[in-house]
């Protein structure tokens, strides 16, 4: 399929990321994960991490859907 790349690896810019979790929901390969980083003022802190980079198919769904444009491939 056009646009798919075996060597694709998503990168999340932590300065732009708003930790909404959209990328985690749209990724069908389970590459991205919203990982808990403890709690502050009773609110959960989450970090968007690239948990399984090897599984990325380069479909670009996360890049397109990210409301903060924080992901690049």
């Amino acid at each position: 399929m056009a646009g798919l790349r075996r060597d694709a690896r998503p990168r999340v810019d932590p300065e732009r990321c708003i930790r909404c979790g959209v990328c985690v929901r749209v990724c069908r390969a389970g590459v991205l994960e919203l990982r808990s980083a403890g709690e502050l003022a009773g609110l959960p802190l989450a970090r968007c991490v690239v948990a399984r980079p090897g599984a990325c198919t380069g479909c670009l769904r996360c890049v397109e859907e990210c409301p903060a444009r924080a992901i690049s491939l």
């Binding site: 708003i18 909404c20 979790g21 959209v22 502050l40 003022a41 009773g42 444009r69």
Partner: protein
């Protein structure tokens, strides 16, 4: 405009921005390094966008920000009560829902131009809320909060992307003052807290920053009103608001604007809602600003969380209103509702945007945009937008734009109402999107406005 004159005006703009940056270099020295880094990044993005860079979002009319002054030195001394405002000022702050006597309020926060002149709790809060929860509610100037609490780095400028557009970048780079509100676990503030942003200087760009952190199972209602002094004619009100709603908490945020011709309004709101929590927002604009753009974005990240966003506004004169709202569902079984109603007169143009984006199973949502056109030259546009990634999502929308039907008018007139009364009655019915807890003075102001718009429409 020729390319040469465009280049000259860009050079003039950049020179003004450099001058502004020099002032902020000095001002920002008080802040911790992490915050200075955010501000510097925002400055770079803003300059880049002025040079023609592409923003994420292009909603709303563009205007030249460099014609306004965001860094006015403080003029007024702190006051000890809202009653110290003079009669005209009191009347104006009351039109945006402020209670000067603070009888039905838990506390007040007043920012005049760039200075926080008053911040305190009401008698009710001192007698019944604070004895039970001594440090339960913290209200501060965010500039001081950022210096005092280093942990805020996890929350400050995390919800509204800095490069969303020119205005988010410049608000982040040049904000002064605002409110930091922190409600601790389980504290239920039964009466609303009011924050007022009052503009008294000409050509001022008032850029406050609002950060609200509500811990799990707490509850708070906020009334945030913005208005200018009648002696002023031009200005900008830009604001970044970030609200974190903890597990099971309830937050209602009411934004009330009364700006006249000559003003540009750009409030940007980002909200993150955790499990089982509820967020309600009401936006009411009764003024006639040159332009207003608003697109609060709520992320329902926690399972079973809920959001209701209502906006109710008038487009009058030559106003250009671009008012929208978005709900992003990333938690399971969340519910959301966006209701937008506008009355358009004169040669005003109104754009109503709404987006429900379901990225998680079990999402439910409804979106409603309605505009009532009361003049031949009024224009309205509705852009409802639904997106679902799951088959079990249930998202609906309805949009309607139209004028009052003659049949409705004749029916009411046959019952003995004058044409003006009939128009007012229909408009009143149209705008009655039940907003509980609407301050009585504001309700009276909206009523007064409906009567005058009915006159204007005929």
């Amino acid at each position: 405009m020729s390319r040469r004159s465009l280049n000259v005006s860009l050079e003039v703009k950049l020179a003004k921005i450099r001058e502004l940056n020099d002032w902020y270099d000095e001002f920002d020295k008080r802040f911790p390094a992490w915050y200075r880094k955010i501000r510097l990044r925002a400055r770079k993005i803003y300059e880049e966008l002025e040079r023609g860079g592409a923003p994420i979002c292009r909603y709303g009319k563009d205007f030249d920000f460099t014609e306004y002054v965001p860094n006015l030195p403080p003029e007024r001394e702190a006051i000890s009560s809202l009653r110290e405002l003079d009669e005209v000022e009191q009347r104006y702050v009351e039109t945006i829902g402020m209670d000067v006597e603070e009888e039905r309020r838990a506390g007040s926060h007043l920012q005049e131009d760039t200075t926080v002149v008053y911040s305190g709790f009401s008698d009710w809060a001192r007698e019944s809320l604070l004895p039970e929860h001594p440090d339960g509610v913290v209200v501060m100037n965010p500039d001081e909060a950022i210096m005092k609490f280093d942990w805020l780095r996890e929350f400050v400028h995390r919800l509204v992307p800095i490069d969303l557009d020119k205005y988010t970048a410049l608000c982040t780079a040049y904000s002064i003052g605002g409110v930091f509100l922190w409600v601790k676990r389980g504290v239920k503030v039964k009466l609303p807290l009011q924050a007022c942003f009052f503009m008294k200087a000409e050509r001022l760009a008032q850029l406050p920053y609002i950060l609200v952190i509500v811990e799990p199972h707490a509850r708070v209602d906020i009334i945030s009103g913005c208005v200018m002094h009648p002696k002023c004619f031009t200005g900008v009100h830009g604001c970044i608001t970030e609200i974190y709603v903890g597990e099971g908490a309830q937050v209602s945020f009411n934004i009330i604007h009364n700006f006249k011709r000559g003003y540009h309004v750009r409030p940007k709101v980002g909200v993150l809602v955790e499990e089982g929590a509820t967020y309600v927002e009401n936006y009411i604009s009764i003024g006639e600003p040159d332009s207003a753009q608003l697109y609060p974005t709520v992320i329902l990240r926690g399972r079973g969380s809920r959001a209701v966003l209502r906006s109710l506004f008038f487009g009058r004169g030559h106003s250009d209103m671009d008012i929208g709202a978005a709900i992003i569902y990333t938690g399971e079984k969340c519910r959301g509702q966006i209701i937008s109603r506008s009355v358009v007169l004169g040669e005003a143009s109104v754009k109503m945007r709404g987006a429900l984006k379901a990225y998680a199973p079990g999402a439910r949502g409804h979106l409603e945009c309605r505009a009532l056109l009361l003049s031949d030259k009024a224009r309205a546009f509705a852009y409802p937008n639904l997106k679902s990634m799951y088959p079990d999502a249930m998202l609906t929308h309805e949009a309607a734009i139209g004028k009052i039907e003659d049949e409705q008018l004749y029916y009411l007139m046959s019952r003995g109402l004058s044409e003006e009364e009939a128009v007012a009655l229909i408009t009143r019915g149209f705008l009655s999107a039940d907003i509980p807890e609407l301050p009585p003075l504001l309700r009276a102001e909206i009523d007064r406005l409906i009567s005058t718009t009915a006159k204007e429409a005929l």
